[in-house]
């Protein structure tokens, strides 16, 4: 059988949509099989702090590592070397001490050191 994209514009359009859906489906199956069904993520809350009233705060760090993957969460202030802080396995949350400041970065890496996500806390100007 010979595949052809000739025919009416509607038919051609539908063929393109079908090919796209098939490719998307294959990618989804491949990611599910490999366990890479979701990208790792990292959320820091709050991600902005008030410079004057609260220059150092506690923050909640939420993470999600796809199944069978283990990572490490590092914390560092801008210009300094990352320090390991927490192991990241599955879904989790941890609270820091009240030492997170403007420029503090939370970094999620896999065990080979590959960077998976990076979040940096910034500050908002003083209201006065």
């Amino acid at each position: 059988m010979r595949f052809s994209l000739s025919g009416s514009p509607v038919r051609r359009g539908l063929t393109y949509v079908a090919i796209f859906c098939a490719c998307a489906g294959l990618v989804a199956i491949w990611r599910r099989v490999l366990g890479a069904d979701t990208d790792p993520f990292l959320v820091v809350s709050p991600s902005h702090i008030e410079q004057c009233d609260h220059p150092r705060v506690e923050v909640d760090v939420h993470w999600w590592m796809p199944r069978r993957r283990v990572g490490t969460i590092y914390i560092y202030t801008v210009g300094e070397a990352p320090e390991p802080w927490h192991e990241a396995r599955g879904r989790g949350m941890a609270r820091t001490g009240d030492w997170v400041a403007d420029g503090t970065t939370i970094l999620l890496t896999d065990l080979d050191g590959r960077v998976l996500a990076r979040r940096t806390v910034t500050s908002i100007r003083c209201s006065t």
């Binding site: 801008v78 210009g79 970065t105």
Partner: protein, 585 residues
């Protein structure tokens, strides 16, 4: 058609400014969109837009101009990242002083930190990308030379107006950019590298404009209660004095994983046991030798001049008070020795101002001098010191600055591979870390060996001598500090270097920790040479500062000390306190 051109230029501006900010963030290793569209972003984007506009006017092509602008930004941020990696400091406008004094030896020294293969690849990609874009991109303005030149003039004119002068000073002010005087990293994080550089250019020429608080000086003089004269009494032949500033020297046994260093640093250990020694706080880390050197030679804490990065490049005086002048006044011949170009860091001019009568640089070294690794060996430097001491009967003050142990270390050659392999490696280092550490250890073992050889020579020479040896700063490692820990739990930048003095002149002291600017007083004291009043004052203030409990408010003491240092630089420090003032205080 004009609407299309405007759209193309606007898209290029948006892509280039956001791309430049993204590159900026990568160099700082922070989230790429942090502070995107903040004031710092716009302030950093302005020079990018000026460059882009100028390139569009010149080439007539938006994509090509955007590509070249981003390539330039990438180069700048790469230099920034490399400086952070080795010196733990971001790029500052003061680094531009190096460009004001171009010297081939400076280029060669910094070239050692660049991976030539990556540099070549980057250059090839840059040229290929530029040629490709030149060929495939449809020009916005074909011909129309006058229109393009007009655009160029407008862009440069508006750019100069906005970036420099009063307008620039307001736009790049401390308040608007969120400058943090305590942290250059935080400053760059908020303002971007370009915003920070433009902010700093405003006060680059004002490094010496620091206030002098005469009252604080007088109060400190009273508090220290120093004798009015510090006259030395020494009846015998004045000793020869040799001070060695050893490149990147520290004792690695301050690292938890490093075993006893006595087998490969025997002279340091022996001198510590029999001489005067201690730890010294220096004003630099990983590089910036001249900062420690300046403090040791002048007794002036660089903290008194927070905007001074490179003192020899930023101070232009015919005479600078300091250690060489003190020895000269005492009848000494004063010699400086350094196995590099005299133009590096502008030393030739600075040493003349400081009062050295002779400056021996690479060109004057004996023909038998040789390199070990990338730089002239410590063995060759010792030979020069001995040659200088043998030249005449007058007592001699030699200040020698070594260079053999200068970085980079990773993969750098050494003359004796077997000796390198014989040094015991600390546990916990990666392959790169081991390579880096072993090559560094090899060079400082050579420094220690040469220190021992010189010590032995002076001991057997039959003349009085004082030999002082110290490290100028900790080395700039790429991996070692990340993989090992310091016993005191402090980061590498906060560590101190060892200093040690041995002598056959009577009257030694014991262990003394100090700041680098306290060393000249100690050197003169050990040599029984009359110290200028300022040296005694600074040393006493330093001891007072070190004796204060951590966290104590020593701002009054520092105000007095720094003001005294500024007076000293102006050659206006007076050790007497007017009795009326004494009474009033």
């Amino acid at each position: 058609m004009w609407r299309y051109r405007v759209w193309v230029v606007l898209v290029a501006v948006a892509a280039t400014t956001v791309g430049a900010w993204w590159i900026d963030r990568l160099a700082l290793k922070v989230q790429v969109n942090s502070y995107l569209f903040s004031y710092g972003f716009w302030a950093s984007s302005l020079p990018v837009c000026v460059l882009l506009g100028a390139l569009i006017a010149l080439t007539g092509r938006a994509a090509l101009s955007s590509f070249l602008s981003l390539a330039l930004m990438a180069c700048l941020c790469l230099i920034n990242a490399e400086k952070i990696k080795y010196l733990a400091l971001p790029l500052t406008a003061f680094d531009g002083y190096l460009l004001k004094h171009p010297d081939w030896n400076t280029v060669v020294l910094f070239a050692h930190y660049i991976n030539a293969a990556w540099l070549l690849l980057g250059f090839v990609l840059l040229v290929a990308g530029a040629v490709l874009l030149w060929r495939i991109e449809r020009p916005l303005l074909i011909g129309r030379v006058l229109v393009r030149l007009g655009c160029l003039a407008v862009v440069l004119g508006v750019g100069a107006y906005l970036l420099f002068g009063d307008m620039g000073r307001r736009a790049y002010s401390e308040e608007l950019l969120g400058i943090s005087p305590a942290s250059p990293f935080l400053t760059q994080f908020r303002a971007g590298v370009l915003g920070t550089l433009l902010h700093e250019t405003d006060y680059m020429g004002q490094a010496l404009d620091e206030p002098i608080d005469g009252r604080a000086v007088k109060q400190l003089k009273l508090r220290l209660n120093l004798p009015s004269s510090d006259a030395a009494t020494f009846a015998g032949i004045p000793p020869d004095v040799v001070v060695i500033q050893s490149e990147s020297f520290f004792n690695p046994d301050v690292l938890e994983e490093v075993p006893d260093t006595t087998p490969w640093l025997p002279s340091l250990h022996q001198a510590t046991a029999v001489g005067v020694s201690g730890l010294m706080t220096v004003p630099t880390f990983g590089g910036g030798t001249l900062r420690t050197e300046f403090e040791v030679l002048t007794g002036i804490p660089l903290a008194a001049y927070p905007r001074m990065q490179f003192p020899y490049l930023q101070i232009s005086r015919d005479t600078l008070p300091g250690l060489p002048h003190a020895f000269d006044d005492a009848g000494y011949r004063t010699v400086a020795i350094h196995g590099n170009s005299g133009e590096f860091w502008n030393r030739r001019y600075a040493f003349r101002s400081l009062g050295f009568s002779t400056f021996v640089t690479t060109h004057e070294f004996k023909p038998t001098g040789f390199k070990d690794g990338l730089f002239l060996s410590d063995h060759s430097m010792t030979e020069e010191i001995i040659a200088q001491l043998q030249q005449e009967q007058r007592p001699t003050f030699v200040f020698a600055i070594s260079i053999e142990a200068h970085g980079p270390y990773k993969g750098a050659p050494v003359n004796d591979e077997a000796a390198r392999m014989a040094i015991a490696m600390p546990a916990g280092l990666s392959r790169v870390g081991r390579d880096e550490f072993s090559r560094y250890a090899y060079h400082i073992a050579a420094a220690d060996r040469e220190f021992g050889r010189l010590w032995s020579y002076l001991e057997h020479r039959g003349r009085p001598y004082v030999l002082v040896f110290y490290g100028d700063h900790l080395p700039g490692f790429e991996k070692v500090y990340r993989e090992l820990r310091f016993r005191n739990g402090q980061p590498a930048e906060s560590q101190r270097v060892p200093w040690v003095a041995v002598s056959n002149v009577p009257g030694h002291g014991s262990t003394r920790n100090m700041y680098a600017w306290m060393l000249p007083q100690t050197v003169l004291e050990l040599a029984h040479v009359k110290a200028p009043a300022y040296f005694s004052f600074a040393a006493a203030a330093g001891r007072e500062a070190m004796g204060e409990a951590d966290g104590a408010d020593n701002s009054q003491l520092l105000d007095g000390l720094y003001s005294a240092a500024r007076m000293q630089l102006d050659d206006a420090f007076d050790d007497d306190v007017d009795p009326k003032v004494r009474h009033a205080l």
